[in-house]
């Protein structure tokens, strides 16, 4: 235990000494994203809104009548899914696109991944703000329990970093991961109950949905915002477990393989 604490401490102090680099990287990622586009930040809000609009138009006829606050129901699903997709995709390419630097200068590589995650997260916060505006429009009263939403969001952030780490390592070794993962993402989107409800499935199948961590996060937000009740303690434990499992798996993958990246660029 003592060594683990010490090594964690060492990592932290290393991170502190790399703060300048981290800030510069975040700045760069933001510029890449928003510079020289007229819409700039507005686009990151507009794009999920368009998705929402299309889904609303198409699916209201099927599910909208039976689901209360169907717009909010859809919106919660789309923004979480969009954030998950963006963060993991960006994380996946973070090593390869910085290959020329990693090849020449001895820098802590994980910073490239972290900085990408920062910009995706800020993007997500923007859409989350719009989400709350929609909540007001849809007549949902704000409760103090909304503060609990910080918990699933935090779990999602940690999970995204962990998954990004696994993917970025895999992507260095196998370039077709990009295509495989995009197929996987499409499947995941359909399995995340974004535009449909799971109520029509038998109870046991409904429980199977909990194997999908993205669905777990989406459901947490829906339960809190639409149903107005905070999930059970077990549900919190489930969120946390997903976050920790992926974070640890990511750290393990990174630690085990990061020294070999340089051979595959």
């Amino acid at each position: 235990m003592g060594t683990a604490v010490r090594s964690a401490k060492r990592s932290l102090s290393r991170f502190a000494s790399n703060r300048f680099l981290f800030e510069e990287l975040v700045k760069r990622d933001f510029e890449h994203k928003y510079k020289r586009t007229i819409l700039g930040m507005a686009w990151s809000v507009l794009s999920p809104l368009l998705t929402l609009l299309v889904m609303k138009l198409v699916f209201t006829g099927f599910f909208g009548r039976t689901t209360p606050h169907y717009t909010i129901y859809l919106f919660a699903g789309t923004i979480v899914m969009a954030y998950y997709k963006e963060a993991t995709n960006n994380g996946m390419t973070s090593m390869i696109s910085n290959a020329s630097v990693i090849n020449k200068i001895n820098v802590p590589k994980y910073l490239f991944l972290f900085s990408r995650n920062v910009s995706s997260f800020v993007n997500f916060l923007l859409t989350l703000a719009v989400f709350f505006v929609f909540c007001i429009i849809d007549g949902i009263t704000f409760r103090i329990s909304f503060l609990m939403l910080i918990f699933p969001v935090l779990c999602l952030v940690i999970m995204n970093i962990g998954i990004g780490m696994i993917l970025s390592a895999l992507y260095v070794f196998f370039r077709d991961i990009k295509y495989l993962y995009s197929v996987f993402l499409t499947l995941l989107t359909y399995l995340s109950a974004i535009f449909y409800t799971v109520d029509s499935f038998p109870y046991n199948v409904q429980r199977l949905f909990l194997l999908n961590p993205v669905y777990v996060i989406i459901k947490y937000i829906r339960m809190t915002v639409i149903d107005g009740n905070v999930p059970s303690l077990q549900y919190h434990a489930l969120c946390l477990a997903y976050a920790l499992v992926f974070a640890l798996a990511g750290a393990f993958f990174y630690k085990r393989y990061n020294r070999r990246f340089v051979y595959y660029f």
């Binding site: 760069r28 890449h32 090849n103 196998f174 077709d176 495989l180």
Partner: protein, 324 residues
């Protein structure tokens, strides 16, 4: 002060299974069918050397000898498969200066980012930024996107940022000087200033003269094998020069000495030949020239090479008379 760099029986291996070419699906299939093979390639085999503070090591060898890989291992980018590398101090590695910049960002942003990657602090960059830009002569380009710069300008910036530090250890891969004419001189001077300040350094160079001029130790690699690590820079460099012509790899100290001897013999012969040619050329010029200029030239030559033959007073008189 003790050892600054200690390289102990270091071997570096590349694996060329080419996962990235076949992809995950194919990899899985080959794994299942037992068709997956990796081939190993040892870029460096059993390399050992040690540098004390102030030492300057020159690494010589033909292309593919494992020089750059060894530098990467010393600067911590790669990890040796076997052996150990101990480094005491802060490394500034100058490897391919122009790469790794971001074309969309401005020169200023790139300078800060590169500084951050090299481990400088923001305060340090704030302090040095003006100096860096002035040294790279990019004042007019500060806020231009980096992609608009020429490749020479890019290396100039890379060089300037790298050289502004006070490193304990400097690693140079063919980047003693960059840029064109005037800047080449400036960067060369700066480099010599840094090297003269007592840093420990490693220099990879294809210019044997540079190695002779700057290094007090030399490491000769060939196809990943260590031929020799020695403080006798002159001898090893001569042997290497001879090896480039004869392609004979020496295996013992005696063979190296023999090669070096052959080289100096060859050089003496070439010098004699060249001198003869030059003498002929000079004679021709003197014979064709007007009388006074010919005498002037002859006097200059004698004055430079054997001043004791001349009565400088007489020479002065003669020059006054003819020039005045």
């Amino acid at each position: 002060m003790g050892r600054v760099i200690e390289c102990n029986d270091v071997s570096i291996r590349y694996i060329t299974g080419d996962l990235k070419a076949i992809g995950l699906k194919e990899y899985m299939m080959r794994r299942i069918t037992g068709n997956y093979h990796v081939t190993e390639f040892w870029a460096d085999k059993h390399i050992s050397f040690a540098l004390e503070a102030g030492d300057m090591l020159g690494i010589i060898g033909t292309n593919g000898a494992g020089k750059s890989t060894l530098l990467k291992a010393v600067s911590g980018i790669m990890e040796p498969k076997q052996g150990s590398i101990k480094v005491n101090g802060r490394i500034a590695a100058l490897l391919e200066l122009a790469s790794g910049f971001d074309g969309d960002m401005t020169v200023r942003e790139n300078a800060y980012l590169r500084g951050a990657m090299l481990g400088y602090t923001r305060a340090f960059m704030d302090e040095m930024y003006e100096e860096i830009i002035a040294f790279a002569e990019l004042e007019e380009f500060e806020d231009r996107p980096f992609r608009q710069l020429s490749s020479g300008m890019k290396s100039r910036l890379g060089f300037a940022i790298c050289c502004m530090v006070d490193p304990d250890i400097i690693i140079l891969d063919e980047v003693l000087s960059v840029g064109d004419g005037a800047f080449r001189k400036k960067s060369g001077d700066k480099m010599r200033e840094i090297l003269g300040s007592g840093v420990t350094g490693i220099l990879v160079s294809h210019s044997i003269d540079q190695v002779k001029e700057l290094c007090n130790k030399v490491l000769w690699l060939d196809h990943g094998e260590q031929i020799v690590f020695s403080p006798e820079v002159e001898k090893v460099c001569d042997a290497y020069t001879e090896f480039l012509i004869t392609k004979e790899i020496p295996s013992t100290d005696d063979e190296i000495a023999a090669l070096a001897l052959a080289c100096s013999k060859r050089r003496a012969e070439e010098k004699a030949k060249k001198d003869k040619k030059e003498t002929k050329k000079l004679e021709g010029i003197l014979a064709r020239g007007t009388k006074n200029t010919a005498i002037e030239a002859a006097l200059d030559i004698i004055e430079n090479n054997a001043p004791e033959m001349l009565d400088m007073h007489e020479v002065g008189e003669w020059r006054r008379k003819n020039n005045g």
